[in-house]
Amino acid sequence: MTNNNTFDRRAIGAGLIAAGAFALARPAQAAEQSAADRAKAFAALPDWTGIWMGVGTTLFEQKAGAASLNANNPNAREFPPYRPDWERAYQTFLNEVVKQENFSDPLSLGYPGGMMRMMSPARGLQFVLRPEQVWIIYERPDVRYIYTDGRPFPPKDELWPTFEGYSIGHWEGDTLVVQTVSIRGGIPIDRTGAALSDEARVTERIRKTDAKTLQSDITIEDPVALTGPWKVTRRYTRRDEQYPRMENVSSLENNRNPVVNGETKVLLAGDSDPSSPYPDDLRRVAVPRFPKAK
């Protein structure tokens, strides 16, 4: 495999070693694999079946002392080792917006949560483990793709910042080690407005610590925003319940809390029409006027 990558050769090396262990699972060879080989490659993966819910509050960092707060609380904050200029900007936002209870969540206005917030869910997620990829499916339209086929990161000139970034991973025993780069900066990771820069690099080590617990040890490095690594541990608990993943498309359906001049409003009876998910002007050009069901 040629390697033009300039990111982190150590990580790529680890990926390649892992890929060696799972060489049978490489996509290029998939069509040639026997059923027995495919069964073997799948059988080597751990069992993460189930719907997993984040343990703890909606704050990303489950810091001692802050554990009773969730990210909606005006007194809540994260504790990244911010550089002084980032800390000042964060504190200004906390004081001027969050403490005034004026934070409006972009996630709820239809924008993707993005990394790291994707891994700090208050809702269910599912892990689909395949030899060549891991998919993390959320109760939103988002799916996160982690390539475990041994590929390196694309060359730098083929990467641009995106909400979820670009993730490659490999297995160390039953631990999934994921590295993510090219995450779009300035996306709030929670409702306190904490964010990272485009230069953030995230390493996650995810493993099952008992039948009902997945643990992710997360290290965030960001030479622009942080003075050193930000280490956070998140846990997810398996819910054994009758309901599978459910759709949660946020404001695209029936948003009766528009933000007007920085204030969240409530649309009262007669001010809203939940019969279509589209606003009036879009509905006129997107959907015919079908008769209503009787």
Partner: protein, 127 residues
């Protein structure tokens, strides 16, 4: 060390108010008001569900339609509240935190149906 199930329960209870996607500043959380009325519509929708409740006016005044905000379907269903749990025409008694500006709207606390059933996000199943 707590057993994992106990940890989960504590954690889930701790995030109860976390699902409102916006500030709740427009609701007066220090007040609980009870409304008695008739369900006009139960909007089982994202990002929040809404109960449209028609409340008779006092002393012959015109009835008023209240808009009561509650959680997203994924939260309601896991708490046992289904799209069919409230039907148009149902007579209910409902507790809510009212809008601060006095408009006919609020944030749901719980519903008591005529048959005595309570729909609530409180309690051990809430999260």
């Amino acid at each position: 060390m707590l057993k994992p199930s106990a940890v989960a329960l504590v954690a889930l209870a701790a995030i109860t108010p976390a699902f409102a996607h916006h500030s709740d500043a427009m609701f007066d959380s220090s007040k609980e008001v009870t409304l008695n009325g008739t369900v006009k519509e139960f909007q089982y929708t994202n990002p929040h569900s809404w109960i449209q409740l028609v409340v008779a006016g006092a002393n012959g005044a015109a009835p008023v339609e209240w808009s009561i905000e509650t959680q997203a379907p994924i939260v309601l269903l896991r708490a046992g509240i289904k799209p069919t749990s409230l039907q148009p025409g149902d007579k209910i008694s409902l507790k809510m935190h009212p809008l601060k500006d006095g408009a006919p709207g609020g944030s749901l606390v719980e519903v008591k149906k005529a048959d005595g059933t309570t729909l609530t996000l409180r309690g051990p199943r809430s999260y």
